[in-house]
Symmetry: C2
């Protein structure tokens, strides 16, 4: 073994090994009697390095528990090895956020990527966190939700060439990776199952402002169902899925005590569904008799909820996995159009 002293180590080279600090390429280089260049290449299986050398270097690396220094790599390559999840802090009752995070993590844990979470509040400009990430270069890819038909974030990121994937679709003629739950199908099927139970005056709790794409999908599916079934659409005014549960409950009580109350209701989140039930019962009506309720849920809590309501599941964890895979593949250069997927409502077997 050739021992070289390049005069760079301020502590004697012999001490190099004994340091309590984390090993670097230099440590391995010293131990193997090679240059850092060769070590760097050997570790990433570069073709220029002889097999014997590779084996030796990789063995040493494993033995001393070498882990590349992220800052070094990041500085040199410009890659952060970070995916950033940007989501809003309000609309996340009942485990939507958690499941998304877990789904994404599940995929990233097999890779060198870390996940950072950047919440923003609905009062603030949704562009702000996006701009921050781009300006500071703090992530290689972004996952975001609450997509709007004409979404400035999508435009901005596309212009800047930053890989991203959205939970939800847009309608702006830009191809980008997305995963979406088929809310149109959900709303349609919901109406269908209410019709099948003989309900005729059907209402839906609206999605979060028409600015968010899935509001439109819900609406489309709902209208189609109503039309096909020759039913009457009763509208809820003054509340949507972003409204506080307290207000939803109160308004619901009002509506259900009024003259033109619906006998079937579609709702797109579990939390709101519980508030709706509270309002309905406060008005003295019984679920399953006076009125039926269908809801989407993203945890299985509603499955055990009494009174029993009709439930369709959205597997948000799966969405997280899909989105993570999509950004990663986008970063790897895969065409955006190959990274678009939809998942379909899955009716809970009644219990």
């Amino acid at each position: 073994m050739k021992v070289k002293d390049d005069g760079q180590g301020h502590s004697g080279d012999a001490a190099e090994l004994a340091e309590g600090e984390r090993p670097t390429l230099k440590t391995i280089a010293f131990m193997a009697g090679l240059g850092v260049t060769t070590v760097s290449r050997a570790l990433k299986d570069a073709p220029e390095i002889g097999q014997a050398t590779k084996n030796r270097v990789q063995l040493i690396a494993k033995q001393i528990g070498y882990r590349p220094n992220r800052a070094g790599v990041r500085l040199r390559t410009g890659k952060t090895n970070v995916i950033s999840l940007v989501l809003n802090a309000q609309s996340s009752i009942m485990g939507l956020t958690s499941n998304m995070v877990y789904g994404i993590s599940e995929v990233l844990s097999q890779t060198p990527y870390h996940l950072t979470v950047t919440p923003y509040s609905l009062e603030n400009d949704p562009m702000q966190p996006i701009r921050y990430i781009v300006e500071t270069g703090s992530a290689d890819g972004i996952i975001m939700s609450r997509t709007e038909p004409d979404d400035p974030r999508v435009r901005y990121l596309t212009e800047h060439g930053i890989p991203f994937a959205t939970h939800g679709r847009t309608e702006m003629g830009i191809d980008h990776p997305f995963h979406d739950f088929d809310n149109e199908a959900f709303a349609y099927l919901s109406v269908k199952s209410l019709l099948a139970r003989g309900r005729r005056r059907i209402a839906m709790l609206a999605g979060p402002s028409p600015a968010v794409t899935y509001y439109r999908h819900l609406d489309r599916g709902f209208s189609r169902g109503i039309e096909e079934g020759n039913a009457v659409a009763a509208l809820f005014s003054g509340i949507d899925v972003d409204t506080s549960l307290g207000r939803i409950r109160d308004r619901m009580e009002e509506i259900m005590s009024g003259p033109n109350r619906p006998d079937g209701i579609v709702c797109c989140t579990g939390g709101a569904a519980i508030a709706l039930v509270a309002g309905i019962e406060a008005a003295g009506l019984k679920i399953g008799e006076d009125v039926d309720l269908v809801s989407k849920q993203s945890t299985d809590v509603l499955k055990w909820f009494r009174p029993q309501i009709i439930v369709f599941n959205e597997d948000v964890r799966h969405a997280g996995r899909e989105l993570a895979r999509a950004v990663l593949r986008r970063i790897a250069g895969v065409d955006a159009r190959e990274l678009q997927s939809l998942s379909y409502p899955d009716e809970n077997e009644p219990r």
Copy 2:
């Protein structure tokens, strides 16, 4: 303005300004006709730099939107500016994770710190993510939950001198930052309120295995309440708060159909409470008549749940804020004993 060419720029210095790339200290240095050192110091308000220079440099920095390169800082200083939240992926129904994340983010957003999330599954060794973070040096501080009385993670991190804060206490004679909900008080008050409703045979759904500290706190508060009230503690065997909702429901139906069924029940998560109710009703009993139920919740969903159950709130978002502040202050060198806090159950006004 003095123009200097240090011969380092591979692209002509004039082009330096026009680049579409992110500005660095060098960019500012060139624009101001100063050295990078001076610029670096001027930006952080170092005492060695003249006020006029500082003003000039800071103005330029703001104008061109300079943001320090994280990798550069990290490499040079060894600080990652990252806080890592380590939590387990299962026990998080009903928004516990989300609220924790949002609470932490709220605090970190005022600082240069980013939040990364590292979930692990209950089947895996909880030490694994911790070791990874320490070995790769990927965070300056850690926040973790599900603390055990004798927690190997706490021991490990303390030995390695890594700042951290736990959601939950330990019992190992090591002072470390924590924030905890007073589960003993919660259990005690829960029993009290059941007693006040005339209940005598009171049971509790156990916390997650005695290995997790708050199990003991629940137990202690529960026992004290029972004792003081001269009541009978009926035990649930075979289920705890980590059991699947389906099993909880089924087992509950069994228990409530049996001979020695309780007439008062304490439960420590909202999700489980819903499953309990399902089981109770399946056994043909009525909440509020045959039996009363008290539960802790960390979102306000249960507040609207019917039948009405007694609810105490744990403000997990607040816990997140406390924990974030605690790690940050610990990183800043504050004594661990000053970073320990408790929050108290807060009974929901009945609705």
